[in-house]
């Protein structure tokens, strides 16, 4: 075999023995590319389907054989083929530029992991990789008749282009960091050329220009970008870019923090959970542990499991400072047991390293009744899958999570996140993930207590170098033994020893004592503090997070005269290593080390001089007036002030609920004395929403009644601030009732309540109102009242975009398209989908959550119109998007919708595969009645196509017994399938009977699309009974309806008998006066083709 070189990056070229090899057709080039970049061996049938989707399987396989033969004559010996599979010989004589490109990038990654990204070798690898990339993958090569190939090619291109972007970014940085300014600019220019709207690229270019003194070029780059963005609807320059621009223009206002207003000061607390602690400059470098952590990216999960005070967080901070991987950080606390709260922080944390990630998930979280957490997570995972670069998510203090739902969600994330993402968990207890399994699969990296203990050498470094205590080896050994290498113990000991006159004596006493280490040492440390600091530490220990102003509030009695400021004390404590950790860069929020806080609190509780409840009351007051409502409620409870807690909940629980903190509200209200709730209607309402969102309906009825009673009770008993809100209370109660009725599938009640609620809500754009309309639409749709549903959905479609409620807009449009299809108005259905897609394309949101359904609607219409190629293309997109959501319901409908296309194309195996995937989901998850209806009907259609009589009979028997049959619109599709099953079994009388009933119902409901098919099935029964004249009469009726929507495949897929009957009808002049001749001849042509 002669050496083969394949150049796919750019115009495709094939070189055999250093001479260009000319391949006969575009398809053979495409096939060679496909075989060289994919798996080692491909199934013949699969390849044939990808390249010749239009031909039947036999013909496709024939084409494949011919193309392979031609390839083999041009590159002799390189193609391996047997009866079932084909492949390209992967020997050392084969070279492919894509492969080489990936290998170079891999080498770059290794360099950067080893911290040598600025080395000559690394730069050479980058430059060589860049040289290989002559142009986009298979430039100019497209196969219009093989959409699957084009799609495969599209993803290859996108992936490679993403790699290229990363490469350019890295190379530009390397050039810039090694002082090659001009080359850096050139590279950054190439990067911006890939996507002129990509702002990080523009920012880099601006920075490079500015750094090399080309200020005006930097400013022009910005202005160009701004102009381009202006041409895009609803795009603005990002804040970071604008700030950079202003900086370069030299107009940045100096950021003086000054004395910010109270409310503003409180806001950054939201970010404190995401703050990556910065490694302290004077720490022991724990080289062994850092070395082990370098392997994080080889493991799915890294678990750091050790008790408090072993330095888990410190170690992670140190590691983050060293790792090249982007890291998202989330410090957990009790509040994260509220699953939606947890999710929104998870999104927030990831957004810090991955722009735009979780934007859909966030939209989902914002609906008043958000979908299940798994749906939100699914959307987030699909976003992670789109990210080109790897990433790490660190969850610190995981021991605070006790809620099994959160554990479960994390387990799911671990299992389903893309393989280049990694999770690091630091915890005092092993989390209930399947650690054994992960360990067995080599997917778990563990650092445990024994690993985190300070060794004698580390203790020596810490005590003698970092703390400069100058202790003897024996003293260090004694300390190490007494503290068992516990980091906090050593640190406390060092603090006690600082400036101690007789250290050896101290160590001897300490070693000889059998008191709990913490008690012994903290006492020593506190003793050395002045009284005012001791008092400060005790009183502020009630706070989970400390802020200068908040501490001032607590200390006001002590400090009213001295004029001291807490901010200064906090900064002093931080400086002197007294277990105070900053939670942001601007030193606004701090916390105590957990252990230290626990110890201080236990001492505070014993202290007689300080009234703890009073402290909590003050804290509650400060938190409320600074917008920290959840914290305020917690302090009110801790102050034993139930009435204050209730009032806070009444006022603020709504905000918390609509930002997803149901579990928190639920827990609060359950903590109240049981009787109290029934006297306070707002508590009933909030508890009702929280209960509803947690998916339990028990007791909801009672809560609604409780709230209603409160509404009619003597208004004097209500707190003053609630009085003007009575109308709002009424609306809330109605909303609750409606949501409950809808979940219970009490459709007419739902509609009634929705109408009442709509009357109560004056603002046409409120989300509450849009939800009411949508819920009403669903209730109408479920009962088959299409006109009512249409009207409601139409209104949602019109209003939702204005209120930024994109998800509802998409779902309403999908439902409207479905309604038009059912009515047989395929043109209108298609138009609705197309309009939606092109309006979303303008803002780059065409892949938004829920769009899988819309593409699926469109594919069905294209297929019906016999535009098979278009149908397949759109369907592939639908499945892609649906799979990205991982939502069972959406997946089932996408898979089901694909089945008729595949059966129609004779691809029964693929159809079966689709259904298999669907079955697994339907068995495990609840789906809407209409989705199940669609799915069932598709199963039967496949059995019939495969002549699987046994399955058909079994299913029919079961269906007859389950009394599910003929319940109108909701089961119409599977009822039709039932009729088909009966026909296949020769039970013609029964089939006809069923069909007559169905036809009446469909006609009455205006469902002409369905009616056309029902009449067609009746026609078939009559034809089989040899009642030709009657058959022709019904066929004519069916065709009249079919013509209105230009239905084709419904007829063509019936096959030979119908073609025969159609020709007979034409002979008899049956269709002449009623039917457009063009439609009939289209049908005949479709039969022939």
């Amino acid at each position: 075999m002669e050496a083969l070189k394949l150049y796919w990056l750019g115009l495709p070229r094939v070189v055999l023995a250093e001479r260009p090899a000319k391949l006969e057709t575009r398809k053979s080039v495409a096939l060679l590319a496909y075989l060289s970049t994919g798996a080692d061996r491909c199934q013949r049938e699969a390849v044939a389907t990808v390249f010749w989707p239009e031909a039947n399987q036999q013909r496709a396989l024939g084409n494949l054989r011919r193309t392979l033969a031609s390839l083999n004559s041009r590159v002799p010996g390189w193609i391996e083929a047997d009866r079932d599979s084909i492949g390209l010989r992967k020997t050392s004589k084969l070279w492919c530029d894509v492969q080489a490109f990936h290998e170079l990038l891999e080498r770059v990654r290794q360099f950067s992991n080893a911290g040598s990204e600025l080395s000559e070798e690394c730069r050479a690898a980058l430059e060589n990789a860049l040289k290989l990339y002559r142009g986009e993958f298979l430039d100019g090569l497209n196969l219009p008749d093989a959409p699957q190939f084009d799609e495969w090619e599209f993803f290859q291109r996108a992936e490679l282009q993403g790699e290229l972007a990363g490469l350019l970014e890295r190379l530009a940085r390397t050039y810039s960091d090694t002082g090659k300014g001009d080359q850096a600019i050139e590279t950054a220019l190439r990067w911006t050329a890939l996507d002129p709207l990509h702002e990080p690229a523009s920012r880099m270019l601006m920075e490079l220009y500015a750094r090399s003194g080309k200020r005006s070029a930097a400013l022009t780059q910005y202005e160009d970008l701004q102009r381009r963005l202006h041409e895009q609807p609803e795009r603005e320059v990002e804040e970071a870019t604008r700030r950079l621009y202003e900086e370069i223009r030299g107009q940045t206002a100096p950021a003086v923090p000054g004395h910010a207003p109270a409310y503003a000061a409180a806001l950054p607390i939201l970010k404190t959970k995401l703050y990556i602690p910065s490694p302290a400059p004077s720490r022991v470098k724990r080289a062994d542990l850092l070395e082990r952590l370098r392997r994080v990216e080889r493991y799915r999960l890294t678990l750091i499991s050790a008790p408090a005070g072993f330095g888990k967080t410190t170690l992670l901070a140190e590691w983050i400072a060293h790792t090249p991987l982007p890291v998202a950080w989330l410090s957990l606390d009790h509040g994260d047991n509220d699953i939606y709260h947890f999710l929104s922080y998870l999104i927030e944390a990831l957004q810090g390293i991955l722009e735009g990630v979780g934007a859909d998930a966030r939209q989902l979280l914002q609906s008043p009744q958000p979908p299940s957490p798994h749906i939100v997570l699914g959307s987030l995972i699909s976003d992670l899958g789109k990210a080109i670069h790897p990433g790490v998510l660190v969850l610190d203090d995981y021991q605070y999570i006790v809620e099994s739902a959160v554990h479960e969600l994390m387990g799911y994330l671990l299992e389903h996140m893309p393989t280049n993402w990694h999770i690091v968990v630091a915890s005092r207890a092993d989390p209930p993930f399947r650690l054994g399994r992960l360990r067995a699969h080599g997917e778990l990296l563990e650092l445990r207590t024994r690993d985190l203990r300070f060794s004698v050498a580390e203790a020596t470094e810490f005590l003698n170098q970092v703390m400069a205590l100058g202790l003897s080896t024996e003293d260090i050994r004694a300390l190490e033994t007494r503290t068992e290498g516990w980091a906090v113990g050593l640190q406390l000991a060092a603090l006690s020893l600082r400036g101690h006159e007789r250290p050896t004596e101290f160590i001897r006493d300490f070693s000889g004592s059998n008191r709990f280490v913490l008690d012994y040492l903290v006492e020593e440390v506190l003793k050395r503090q002045p009284a005012r600091i001791q008092s400060f530490l005790l009183q502020t220990s009630i706070l989970d997070k400390l802020n200068g102003q908040l501490c001032d509030e607590l200390m006001s009695d002590d400090w009213s005269q001295s004029g001291e400021s807490s901010q200064g004390v906090l900064e002093d404590l931080e400086r002197s290593n007294l277990f105070v950790l900053p939670l942001d860069d601007s030193r606004q929020w701090y916390r105590y080390h957990h252990l230290f806080a626990d110890l201080l609190r236990s001492r505070l509780a014993q202290s007689r001089a300080i009234e703890v409840e009073g402290l909590h009351r003050r804290a509650a007051h400060w938190c409320e007036s600074n917008g920290l409502f959840a914290e305020a409620v917690q302090h009110a409870f801790d102050a034993q002030d139930t009435e204050a807690a209730i009032q806070l909940i009444e006022k603020h629980a709504g905000d918390l609920i609509f930002s997803g903190r149901y579990a928190t509200v639920l827990e609060w209200i359950r903590r109240l004395p049981p009787g109290r709730m029934w006297q306070r209607p707002w508590l009933c309402v909030w508890l009702g929403w929280a209960v509803l969102a947690s998916g339990q309906l028990d007791g909801l009825e009672q809560l609604i009644q409780g709230a209603r009673k409160g509404l009619t009770a003597n208004p004097l008993e209500q707190p003053e601030f609630l009085e003007p809100k009575n109308e709002e209370l009424t609306a809330q109660i109605l909303g609750l009732e409606m949501a409950l009725a809808s979940l219970q599938e009490r459709h007419s009640r739902t509609i009634e309540l929705a109408l009442q609620l709509l009357g109560q809500l004056p603002d046409p754009l409120s989300r509450q109102r849009i939800n009411a309309l949508y819920t009403m639409g669903n209730a109408y749709y479920a009962t088959g009242a299409l006109a009512g549903a249409e009207q409601a959905y139409q209104e949602v479609r019109n209003l939702a975009p204005q209120s930024g409620f994109l998800l509802r807009h998409i779902l309403a449009t999908h439902r409207l398209a479905a309604i038009e299809t059912v009515r047989g108005h395929l043109q209108q259905s298609c138009q609705l989908c197309q309009e939606l897609i092109s309006s979303l394309e303008r803002t780059g949101q065409q892949d938004f959550f829920g769009m899988g359904d819309v593409y699926s609607d469109m594919a069905r219409v294209y297929y019906e119109w016999n535009r098979v190629e278009d149908a397949h293309q759109v369907m592939a997109r639908s499945i892609l998007l649906s799979e990205a959501t991982r939502v069972p319901m959406i997946l089932v409908s996408s898979y089901s919708n694909a089945v008729p296309l595949l059966i129609g194309g004779g691809n029964l195996n693929a159809a079966e595969e689709m259904l298999e995937k669907g079955i697994r989901l339907v068995e495990r998850y609840p789906v809407l009645p209409e989705t199940r209806d669609l799915f069932e009907s598709c199963r039967v259609r496949l059995w019939l196509a495969k002549n699987d009589v046994k399955s058909v009979i079994l299913w029919s028997v079961e269906r007859q017994q389950s009394a599910l049959g003929l319940s109108g619109f909701q089961t119409e599709l599977s009822d039709m399938a039932f009729a088909r099953a009966l026909i296949a079994q020769g039970k013609l009388d029964m089939a006809f009977h069923v069909l007559v009933t169905m036809a009446d119902a469909a006609e009455a409901g205006g469902r002409n699309g369905r009616l056309a098919e029902i009449l067609l099935l009746q026609t078939k029964v009559l034809w089989l009974e040899d009642r030709r004249d009657e058959a022709l009469g019904l066929l004519r009726q069916s065709l009249e309806l079919g013509a209105a929507g230009n239905f084709i495949r419904t007829y063509v897929d019936e096959g030979q008998w119908l073609e025969e009957l159609l020709r007979l009808g034409i002979e008899h002049g049956e269709f002449g006066e009623y039917q457009s001749p063009a439609y009939i001849s289209t049908l005949l042509k479709a039969f022939a083709g």
Binding site: A308, R428, N514, F516, D519, S602, A605
Partner: protein
Amino acid sequence: MASVEQDSPDSGKSLPGNTSNVYEIQVRGILDDHWQQWFEGMTLRADASFDGGQGCTLIIGPLADQPALHGVLERIRDLNLALISIRRLPDGPKSPEESLAASQCESDRNGTA
């Protein structure tokens, strides 16, 4: 969010007749008195001679149910206290001294923990 139900303390059916809800938790080292508040409603008993002078503390008292017990264990974990043993004391009124004596006998039997 599971509502906290009154989990009956005698859910351990393997101990027929034992309805005591008094637990005794043994941790290494001697705890200062101020921790009394931390383990609400329980008393702390120090035993300086335990394990050849290493010392231990017994945390003894009634706990309403299993979740309450887990709460206490969680606190012990959070303080990085080494847990040695935990048991439910047998029925009948018993002074802390008696139970201390009982536990000492036990630890003697088992050797060092």
